[in-house]
């Protein structure tokens, strides 16, 4: 048993900390905590199960010839049905993004992590890239499965969406980006707040309650503000038909990307400046 390493360290000594190495490290961190892997699996299950379920409910409604309920959570369009799990999945990806970062603070791991990466920012970019890529991949596969499972259910009523229909592919493709974006906002909030409870609450508030709060504003002002809220821009990205109270998909996408970038930038400043 020797204290001295027998690794041929000359090559690694020369290169030191690099972004790919930090990505590897963050990948190990992500896959080695059960709460995160189970949470991501749950996200996949939600997306894959709720799409066909919503589609089947929609098909039954069409079969019965009744109007579609205008209740919350009930999709009103076929693509909305395929993406029936997104509303819930975003809560999970947001919370998991928070958890992936906030546990570093809660456990004291952040000090070990920063001592290993003293330039600090690569740690944040590494975490964001790994989490964003994993969420996007998991959601992309799940949405594809949901699509394939939903089409036969809707086909009988002639409302099955086709990838060649205008906006369908865009809405499906925007879904993984949106879910990953919410996750990244979670990561950023966890850095800023260093508290799991506070950051999860804030993500939920931003995603679920901010537009209701905007409803309390004077109507004219609310109409101005609401389309620019994070969840509303998300809705615009994932909707096939342009709706008058939503931004067009491309501007919506840009506004949403702005939220993600701004929150990560703020997190970067905080991480670089604060003592750990």
């Amino acid at each position: 048993m020797t204290v001295l390493t027998t690794d041929g360290g000359a090559e690694t000594r020369r290169r030191g900390v690099t972004l790919p190495r930090v990505l590897h490290s963050e990948w190990i961190k992500l896959r080695s905590v059960r709460a995160l892997t189970v949470g991501l699996a749950a996200t996949a299950v939600l997306l894959m199960a709720l799409g066909p379920l919503s589609s089947s409910a929609m098909a039954k409604t069409f079969a019965a010839g009744t109007e579609i309920d205008d209740a919350p959570f009930v999709p009103t369009t076929p693509v909305g049905a395929v993406l029936g799990g997104v509303f819930f999945a975003q809560l999970l990806t947001g919370a998991l993004g928070v958890l992936f970062m906030s546990t570093e603070y809660a456990t004291g791991m952040i000090r070990a992590s920063l001592a290993a990466v003293p330039t600090r920012l690569p740690l944040l970019w590494g975490k964001a890239l790994v989490f964003g890529a994993v969420v996007a991949t998991v959601s992309a596969i799940s949405v594809a499965v949901s699509f394939l499972g939903s089409v036969p259910l809707l086909d009988g009523h002639g409302v099955a969406p086709s990838l060649s229909d205008a906006g369908v592919l865009r809405a499906l493709a925007a879904t993984p980006a949106y879910l990953a974006g919410i996750g990244l906002i979670g990561v950023a909030l966890a850095v800023l707040m260093r508290s799991t409870a506070l950051a999860v609450t804030t993500v939920c508030f931003a995603v679920f309650l901010l537009d209701s709060l905007a409803g309390l504003l004077p109507a004219s002002l609310a109409d101005e503000v609401t389309p620019y809220l994070p969840a509303t821009t998300g809705k615009a990205m994932l909707t096939v038909q342009n709706q008058p109270d939503l931004l067009d998909p491309l501007p919506a996408c840009l506004v949403f990307a702005g939220y993600v970038i701004a929150s990560l930038a703020a997190a970067g400043v905080a991480l670089a400046r604060r003592d750990a």
Partner: protein, 307 residues
């Protein structure tokens, strides 16, 4: 080699560390002593680049903490036991840290072996005892085979076997020419581990000297004598620069006279001596002496105590 120069770290109006300068040499174990709240951990966090100094500089191996391309290969640290996700296995915890500096799985297995954790490498770190968590932290510190090792209170929570293990490990690391810097507020362990000590109180340097001198210079040698004729012996011993106190019935505590001289005197006067012991002031006593005024929070003297 760690060089701390005029280091000041302020939190609001409180200076946790106040113009502190010292250097830690390679090849020996250096103890970092001070009461709780004296600024030891803050100093160590600055040395690791985790906290930014308000003023002054810190150099490890000649460079600032953030300037090392592969910091784990330069400086290894144990800051707190169990600093890691409780749901992650010991192996994955170390592997994640190692990966950032391009350190491979083989080295991870090596340090687990070194820390005696190979059998529990796949267990969740949250299930570890405090002693095992300390060992995991020490394994993390050694990942990069660093030239400098900084350990904050490493003996906390270790059983006697663990303390022996860490003492042996630190001596071995120092013997290999590394810089070993170990903090503690407990003197007893430090007395047996450190060759050199740096003592701080309220963020200021109180002493920076070989551990031997630390105990030697602060109080003179004391000899205790047990004899049925304590009164007679006391009269014989008294003289300039000699203090004799009665330590108990038939027992004297003598300062200023060597044990040999006391024995000779007693023999010459036919005074029976049952016990003659030289006691050196312990590191602990020396430390108490030195930090008496530097303890930040002290319990008030018991009320009504006779002056």
């Amino acid at each position: 080699m760690i060089e701390v120069t005029e280091l000041t770290k302020r939190y609001g109006s409180t200076a946790a560390v106040d113009r502190l300068s010292f250097s830690v040499r390679p090849g020996i174990v250096t103890g970092f002593l001070g009461p709780n709240g004296s600024g030891k951990s803050t100093t160590m966090r600055v040395i690791l680049g985790l906290a930014a100094p308000t003023a002054g500089t810190v150099r490890v191996g000649g460079r600032a903490p953030s300037e090392h391309p592969a910091p784990l290969r330069e400086i290894g640290a144990l800051l707190e036991a169990g600093a890691g996700h409780p749901g992650r296995s010991a192996f994955d915890h170390l592997h994640a840290l190692a990966a950032t500096n391009g350190i491979g799985r083989r080295r991870v297995s090596q340090v687990l072996d070194l820390a005696g954790l190979t059998d529990v490498a796949r267990r969740r770190a949250g299930s570890f005892s405090l002693g095992m968590a300390q060992r995991l932290g020490i394994a993390a510190a050694l990942l990069g085979d660093p030239g400098t090792v900084v350990l904050d209170e490493p003996v906390n929570g270790l059983d006697p076997e663990g303390i022996l293990w860490i003492r042996d490990l630190l001596n071995r690391l120092a013997g290999e020419g590394r810089t070993v810097f170990v903090s503690s507020h407990l003197m007893r362990e430090m007395a047996e581990i450190a060759e050199h000590v740096i003592v701080i109180g309220r963020g200021r340097l109180l002493a920076d000297l070989p551990a031997e001198d630390f105990t030697g210079t602060l109080s003179g040698r004391r000899v205790s004598v047990r004899t049925p004729q304590a009164d007679r012996l006391e009269k014989l011993l008294l003289g300039p620069d000699v203090t004799v106190t009665t330590a108990g019935r038939n027992e004297l505590s003598v300062e200023g006279v060597a044990a040999e001289r006391i024995g000779d005197l007693a023999a010459a006067h036919q005074i029976p001596v049952h016990q003659l012991t030289t006691s050196q002031a312990s590191l602990e006593e020396a430390f108490m002496e030195l930090t008496r005024d530097a303890v930040e929070y002290r319990a008030p003297e018991p009320a009504g105590r006779a002056a």
